[in-house]
């Protein structure tokens, strides 16, 4: 067993874990944060995406011990004070989800995208989310949801000034 300390959604957790325990299982089974879903076991589907020190990672392909000393954000950490964050609101407004299983990973990946590129084009959104599979929506409304969030966040951030456009990264970190 190994002793780890991980910050998850702002709270510190110290636990004894088996070295082989996957981060996804640590979050789900140990911390009971079941919003992070497991869809494929092979890093293809992205349902288990969480932020690790701000970068989207697939938590089914990372050991809990590798998260020692790091800061993890899961879907449960997106909303603050009961208020939906713009990406969550955007997914609801634009019907960007159906069964809801891929949605947490999709929203976490979108959060990372908007962090580095607050005004992404459709092309940039599709590339950034291409490591997250959805079987229900056909992606059309997911793209719209991310655009909705981008606009809402820009309006929130600086209603009088246009937000500065960050250069788009070449490739999504989750790809």
């Amino acid at each position: 067993m190994a002793r780890i300390t991980v910050t998850v959604n702002g709270a510190d957790h110290t636990d004894e874990v088996e070295p082989r325990l996957l981060l996804a299982h640590y979050l789900r089974d140990k911390l009971r944060l079941t919003g992070t879903h497991i869809g494929c076991d092979t890093t293809n589907c992205g349902a288990c995406t969480v932020l690790c020190d701000g970068l989207p990672v697939k938590s089914c392909t990372m050991f809990a011990v590798q998260a020692d000393g790091r800061e993890i954000i899961t879907v449960e950490g997106l909303a603050t004070g009961g208020q939906l964050q713009p990406i969550q609101q955007g997914f609801k407004e634009e019907h960007g989800l159906q069964c809801g299983f891929c949605t947490p990973g999709m929203m976490v990946a979108a959060t990372a995208l908007l962090e580095r590129n607050p005004d992404p084009s459709e092309e940039e959104i599709r590339w950034a989310l291409s490591g997250n599979v959805c079987r229900c929506t056909g992606y059309v409304n997911i793209v719209k949801a991310v655009r909705w969030a981008a606009q809402a966040m820009q309006e929130q951030a600086a209603p009088e000034e246009p937000a500065t456009r960050q250069p788009a990264t070449e490739q999504a970190a989750t790809r």
Binding site: L97, Q98, M107, S130, R135, N141
Partner: protein
């Protein structure tokens, strides 16, 4: 039919209300099967066969049983002692729960480990010693049907071949006579390949059999909880009132969660034996290699036409690859589902269709993957045939369709294979799609481009579906008739709870069904709670698949609402001290005719139902309806896909994907459009990449998402959707169902587009998935 457009506060028909279920999902607060945790719960893992066909000489579980943390190892022999080693399939066949004699496909369930920890359960699987004697694997269904083929189902008495079933529909003599008169016969051989629905959530269950109470509560990924409860009762011999199926949230189904899988049965048996809850969750590979696959039809179609393009007759023969057990999830009369809808949108007065099913050493299944029982295969075949006939005759593919459509005035239309199409307007859908895509201009561009070596293609599919099973006389699941139900109670404060027999897996029932009540009773949809998926607390129903929720339970919801309104009128008359005949129902209020100031709202009526009801009426405002549809519904539409093909690489990209859909009246247009987007994406996946195949030894290729490719946001086309509305004449709301239209209709449009780009090179067919390698090869072979 009610046609009033509601105000936004009511959210009745035609309102794109935001979904009620979304608030929990976007917070990560849904409860899916893997999220269910019970006290003292154990974890189960299944040992699966590495071989496609082998005799089991021995199984030694002793080392596994000794691993610390392991509570039990279960083998087929253990189940056989309780008469549970085999179970019935939904097609009247049998399927091994845990193998006792032979393994018949790679991935078949052989043994189970139950342990305190899921990792330990997996560890223990490695310690089970199975001695297999390998047998030759039969992977080609045509070879399987030859006399010399090894018999796979030697467990079945009298089964001395690999023939699973034979089936036919239509009139052979009439079809042959039509062909004798034809100027032209166009034929096509195509394999609609095996694919897998692959919902994002795999299958699983938590079985909790309580020895103290005798109650078996089974949380499971089920698209049909009530039917599953009855089947559990029949298979396991448990009293049905002591079985409760609970579904919690389901992470997509698409047909994959209709059958009962061995894992559910073993987990329940283990819980019964151990008196502790047992959880079983598939991993993705298990889901892909063992649970309900779809399609795998080898089809031969022939279309007879006059030189001027008039279709005379259709002949189809098909061989289906059923895998090791015939487990198609379909009505028991329908050996090949509704494949005989293969005459499609055309006035084909003579047709004959035959089918043979072959047992092979592959996983069983044959589920209706986002489709109404094999209608997808049928739609694909006729739309590919029509496209090729157009090339043969030198008639534009759109024009050939227009020439042969069932005309709007011909409805209701009796088809040559026995369907009564309820309503349709096929020429209008085609025209709308052609106008939207700019068809004539694209054809001009195509002609000019060809001269410069450019490969661009336009593919059309004018599909007709048959959904909403079903009228009880023709449709059942394992003998249970396919009606569906709704139970509605309006509480004293005017808030309502609706319970339905169908089961959402993402379709948004909590919203759509609340809107139906809102439309009928003018109670705001926000005030209507929709419940489903708990067999103890919802009326009996057959579940959600085959686009049946709106046609059946949606109709039941409208009918039960109207029953409550009838009672409400009597209560209103009592309150207003007038005759019920003196009242008018005006948008949520009963109003005394001629004196509009004398009125009560539906909320007033609800309160009175519990506080001031007339002596000659029962208290309360509650009812239940079991709705048996008089006919199926027939959604239709036209899809037009435009592709550009790179002549050097064979890579094809979708430039345009235009979809015109007519599913009758749309309850929530936002949800309808979302369903269409999803179906168009899955149709693209099937046409372009989704393939489960096998090598000669029966090893499954496509056993994970690295090999079984699903379309991502990057490849998936941008869809352009358009609506038409031809109401169903027999549905209380005029609605038809929509969840599967786009998966049914779109694969032919994508494939037709690629073929259309290559037709001048003489290419007439490329089987799905249409990979760039196959396209490149076709170009190479065609070029001089």
């Amino acid at each position: 039919m009610t046609t009033t457009m509601p105000g936004p506060e009511i959210h009745g028909l035609g309102h794109s209300m935001k979904r009620k279920e979304d608030d929990r999902f976007v917070r990560g607060r849904g409860t899916y099967i893997e999220d269910v945790v019970l006290p003292r719960m154990l974890h189960m893992a299944l040992l699966r066969s590495p071989l496609a066909h082998a005799r089991i000489a021995s199984i030694d579980p002793s080392a596994a049983a000794e691993l610390p943390g392991v509570v039990a190892v279960v083998t087929g022999a253990d189940l056989a002692a309780h008469n549970l080693a085999w179970m019935p399939t939904l097609s009247g066949d049998t399927q091994a729960v845990l193998a006792t004699d032979k393994v018949r496909f790679q991935g078949q369930e052989v043994a189970a480990v139950v342990a305190e920890d899921p990792y330990v359960a997996r560890d223990a699987l490695e310690l089970i010693e199975v001695d297999y004697e390998e047998l030759p694997a039969v992977v080609d269904p045509h070879a399987a049907l030859r006399p010399a083929a090894p018999v796979i189902r030697d467990d079945k008495e009298g089964q001395d071949t690999n023939l699973a079933y034979t089936w036919e529909a239509g009139d052979k003599a009439a079809a042959d006579a039509a062909f004798a008169q034809a100027d032209v016969v166009v034929s096509l051989d195509t394999h609609y390949p095996r694919c897998h629905p692959s919902p994002m959530e795999t299958c699983g269950c938590v079985a909790d059999v309580n020895a103290a109470t005798g109650k078996a509560t089974i949380y499971m990924t089920s698209q049909a909880p009530h039917a599953h409860r009855t089947l559990f009762a029949m298979v396991a011999g448990l009293p049905e009132q002591n079985i409760q199926i609970k579904t919690v949230d389901i992470g997509g189904g698409f047909g994959n969660k209709v059958p009962i899988y061995p894992g559910y049965v073993v987990a329940t048996a283990a819980s019964l034996l151990l008196d502790r809850p047992v959880k079983w969750i598939e991993d993705r590979t298990e889901n892909l290699i063992s649970t309900g696959f779809a399609r795998d039809y080898h089809m031969h179609g022939e279309l007879a036409l006059n030189r001027d393009g008039r279709m005379l007759g259709l002949r189809v023969s098909m061989v289906s690859d059923q895998g090791a057990f015939f487990a198609d999830a379909q009505p028991s009369k329908c050996r090949a589902g509704l494949f005989h809808i293969v005459t499609g949108s055309y006035d084909l007065t003579a047709a004959h269709v035959t089918g043979r099913g072959a047992y092979t050493n592959k996983a069983p299944g044959g589920v209706a993957y986002r489709c109404s029982f094999r209608v997808t295969e049928a739609s694909f075949l006729i739309e590919r045939l029509v496209q090729n006939a157009a090339y043969e005759l030198g008639i534009d593919p759109a024009e050939l369709r227009r020439l042969n459509f069932i005309r709007p005035e011909q409805f209701p239309y009796q088809s040559a294979t026995g369907f009564l199409y309820d309503s349709g307007n096929y020429p209008a859908a085609l025209q709308k799609a052609l106008d939207a895509v700019g068809y004539d201009e694209l054809r001009r561009e195509q002609a000019e481009g060809r001269a410069q070596g450019k490969l661009m293609g336009i593919g059309i599919a004018s599909f007709t579906e048959v959904v909403g099973a079903g009228p009880h006389k023709d449709y059942d699941i394992a003998g249970i008739k396919m009606f569906d139900s709704a139970e509605l109670r309006v509480h004293p404060t005017g808030k309502a709870i609706l319970k339905i027999g169908v089961q959402t897996q993402g379709q948004g029932h909590e919203t759509t069904f609340a809107q139906i009540v809102a439309n009928e009773l003018r109670i705001p949809a926000e005030d209507v709670l929709v419940q489903y998926g708990d067999t103890d607390n919802t009326p009996y129903g057959l579940g959600t698949y085959a686009s049946r929720s709106t046609p059946t339970a949606g109709a039941a919801t409208a009918v039960v609402s109207r029953k409550l309104l009838d009672k409400g009128r009597k209560i209103a008359a009592h309150v207003l001290e007038c005759s019920p005949d003196d009242l008018e129902w005006q948008s949520g209020r009963f109003v005394v005719k001629g004196t509009p100031e004398q009125a009560v709202t539906i909320q007033d009526v609800a309160f009175a139902a519990y506080t001031n009801h007339p002596d000659d009426l029962e208290a309360g405002l509650e009812g239940v309806t079991y709705y048996d549809p008089p006919n199926m519904t027939y959604p239709f539409g036209t899809y037009v896909v435009v592709v550009d093909v790179d002549p050097e690489t064979g890579v094809w990209t979708v430039r345009r994907a235009v979809a015109v859909d007519d599913c009758g009246v749309r309850i929530n247009p936002m949800i309808v459009e979302g369903q269409l987007h999803g179906g168009l994406a899955e149709g693209y996946g099937i046409a372009a990449m989704q393939l489960i195949t096998f090598d000669e030894q029966g090893n499954c290729i496509g056993s994970n998402f690295m090999d079984y490719l699903l379309p991502t946001s990057w490849e998936t086309p941008r869809f352009e959707t358009y609506a038409m509305e031809t109401p169903s004449p027999h549905h209380p709301l005029g609605a038809k169902g929509v969840g599967e239209s786009a998966t049914v209709g779109s694969p032919a449009a994508y494939v037709n587009a690629v073929i259309d780009a290559l037709t001048h090179l003489g290419v007439r067919n490329i089987d799905m998935p249409v990979t760039s390698a196959k396209v490149w090869q076709a170009i190479q072979q065609a070029s001089p």
